[in-house]
């Protein structure tokens, strides 16, 4: 049994210009000890997926129309609000993108980490205070006894992000969802955060969903990748297969668009056009208007996510041939 299974999830939002399908039949599973990257550009549905798992889809205007989210085999969407809340933060934790907005400015950092133990009724060995200090030490905050009494504004951006991570992992969740945790950070700080997440993953055996648009960070951290486009998963593969031998034309295009810091390439090969308007998605395959391989069939039939090799799937009528 997978640790977390998302099946055929559909989430919609009412907007001024009409109803949009933010997620349109998303399915994936997460195993223990695995890092699954959800890779996609703005509006592809990565963050909505995280919000749906954490019960954070604002309703209204948003609603989960159908689908299933199973945690250890139990259906989350049928739980009561309170049951759901007991799981979130406790067994399933979320690391937000913007640590300054996510931390409470009027409580000390130590108090906020300790709150995780209090709310979830945990009594760590040696007491909560010691657990907080140990945790701050583990994430590389110097002078943790003094720092625990300080407030979020007294920390740098990178430290705040690490404190957010400490809060998320404090009570040892089974699933950690990281929503663009390195996006707003400078490269040297980003490297610290990626290293910290890699360490946590080694130590804890939790499953991790890593949401990002950054191919470099995916290559550093992920075991498996699900590429999202316009509310669907268009390709899943292990990280090596995706970078060497992508099958969906969108994944191929994304990789060709990315300049590299370690070589000089002649010219980048961009994907033509821009992401479609979610209110008026193209018929059939949403990527067909930008796709070099599109044919008549693509306008008529939405390609289902089909197995294209051991452990990998692609949603394309005319996938790129194996390398």
């Amino acid at each position: 049994m997978a640790l977390l299974e998302v099946e055929n999830l559909q989430v919609s939002f009412d907007t001024a210009s009409g109803r949009i399908l933010a997620l349109n039949g998303v399915s994936f599973s997460l195993e223990r000890g695995e890092v699954l990257a959800l890779l996609g550009e703005s509006g592809s549905g990565k963050s909505v997926t995280a919000a749906a798992i954490m019960d954070l889809v604002p309703n209204p205007p948003g609603a989960i129309d159908r689908g299933s989210i199973r945690f250890h085999g139990a259906e989350l969407l049928q739980l009561s609000r309170n049951e759901r809340r007991d799981l979130c933060g406790n067994r399933i934790a979320l690391i937000f993108q913007d640590a300054l907005a996510a931390l409470n400015p009027v409580y000390s950092v130590g108090w906020q980490i300790a709150e995780m133990y209090r709310i979830h009724g945990r009594n760590p060995e040696g007491g909560v205070e010691k657990a907080v200090i140990d945790l701050l030490k583990a994430i590389g905050i110097p002078d943790p006894e003094r720092r625990a009494r300080q407030y979020p504004h007294e920390f740098s951006g990178g430290m705040r992000q690490r404190i957010m991570i400490a809060m998320a992992v404090a009570v040892g969740p089974d699933v950690i969802i990281a929503d663009e945790p390195t996006t707003a950070l400078d490269v040297t700080i980003q490297a610290q955060v990626v290293d910290l997440l890699a360490t946590i993953r080694k130590r804890s055996n939790a499953g991790m969903i890593f949401i990002t648009h950054d191919l470099g960070v995916v290559a550093e951290l992920a075991d498996r990748v699900a590429v999202m486009y316009a509310g669907r998963i268009v390709e899943t593969a292990n990280v090596f297969e995706l970078f060497e031998d992508a099958r969906h034309p969108y994944s191929v295009g994304l990789l060709a668009s990315q300049p590299r810091v370690d070589t000089d390439e002649d010219e980048l090969v961009p994907i033509p056009g821009s992401a479609p308007n979610p209110v008026a998605l193209p018929s059939g395959c949403a990527f067909r208007t930008r796709c070099p391989r599109a044919e008549g069939l693509c306008a008529e039939v939405i390609p289902p996510l089909e197995t294209v090799g051991p452990g990998r799937q692609a949603a394309c009528h005319f996938p790129v041939s194996p390398a």
Binding site: V194, Q258, R260, S274
Partner: protein, 327 residues
């Protein structure tokens, strides 16, 4: 040797008066040749934006000089400044905030011609607007639309078209692609490369995405806490930098190749950026540097050629002549 297009000497920009002003840009010197692209990198708070704003005369210089094509930027006023602005144009980061939402594209593009009469006669505005739109990959009918009708990538193309209306010699790009998705970012990067070839444009390209900077630049300049700490041809800066900070910066960039995972040496910097109001004595990087010795506290290192790499200037007492980025 021919005169450089832009020559900056000992330029400083301090904020606040009193005993401890914030020294955002502190005694910076560099040149840009005609048709050359200089990349400027550094982390938040290093002074990139302050430097750009001072060069564009969007804020006064505290001291020093910057000469564009024979004209002193820091002292220019009135008609001289008006003329100067024609020769240096800017592409801003946010294509949503930098275009007036109430102006149609044809007015947005032709407004600079109204402000600089004599360049393009009014009768030819429409024709020239269409030419410009086409050169940035948009179409003639786009001239009659409003900015809100365009996607982010298209808006950035508009921003570039507008910056080119006066045929500048220097284009300053301040994070021009950071607001765009990867697939669209590549379109704009390629567009800038094409325009630069066609028009022999010089560019100052500021970005925090080092891979993009490597792709577009000829030379690269690295800033730390208001100072230029290393500058040189991009191959040297990216593959064999001699300054410890540049080395740490390069080692931190994630490479989009999972096979390299675990095989690269990553240099992790300790501590945080010191305050630019009270920078460390001597070398400003010494508080986070693993090579620092007493000389670093006492003497500020100057930008000098310290390795065999031609054109690489490094401001470090312990510059590393052997470092090559392990890949």
């Amino acid at each position: 040797m021919t005169e450089p297009l832009l020559k900056v000497q000992n330029l400083s920009r301090h904020f606040g008066s009193g005993a401890t002003p914030v020294r955002a840009v502190d005694d910076v010197s560099f040149e840009i040749a005609r048709g050359e692209t200089l990349g400027l990198v550094g982390e938040s708070g290093c002074g990139k934006t302050s430097l750009v704003r001072t060069l564009l005369k969007l804020g006064p210089a505290t001291s020093g000089s910057a000469v564009l094509d024979g004209v002193e930027i820091t002292k220019a006023r009135g008609s001289e400044l008006h003329e100067l602005r024609r020769n240096m144009q800017v592409v801003f980061q946010d294509p949503y905030q930098s275009l007036n939402p109430r102006m149609r594209v044809d007015r947005l593009i032709s407004e600079p011609w109204a402000l600089h009469p004599g360049l393009v006669p009014k009768a030819r505005w429409r024709e020239e607007t269409v030419k410009l739109l086409e050169s940035v990959g948009l179409r003639a009918e786009h001239a009659d639309r409003y900015p809100s009708e365009f996607s982010g990538g298209q808006r950035q193309r508009l921003g570039i078209a507008r910056a080119l209306t006066l045929n500048p010699t220097l284009l300053v790009c301040d994070e021009p692609v950071s607001a765009l998705d990867v697939s669209v970012q590549a379109q704009v990067v390629n567009l800038l490369a094409k325009l630069r070839r066609e028009r022999n444009l010089a560019m100052l390209f500021v970005a925090h995405d080092l891979a993009v900077v490597r792709h577009v630049s000829d030379r690269v300049m690295v800033m730390y806490l208001g100072k230029i700490i290393e500058t040189g041809p991009k191959q040297s800066i990216f593959s064999a930098p001699a300054h410890p900070y540049t080395q740490a910066l390069m080692s931190a960039v994630p490479t989009p190749d999972p096979r390299l995972r675990g095989h690269r040496k990553r240099i992790v910097l300790q501590g945080d950026l010191p305050s630019p109001a009270n920078p460390p004595s001597g070398c400003r990087f010494r508080t986070r540097c693993w090579k620092a010795t007493s000389i670093c506290t006492e003497q500020e290192p100057a930008l000098t050629a310290r390795t065999a790499a031609p054109g690489l200037l490094t401001a470090c007492h312990h510059a590393d002549t052997e470092f090559a980025r392990r890949l």
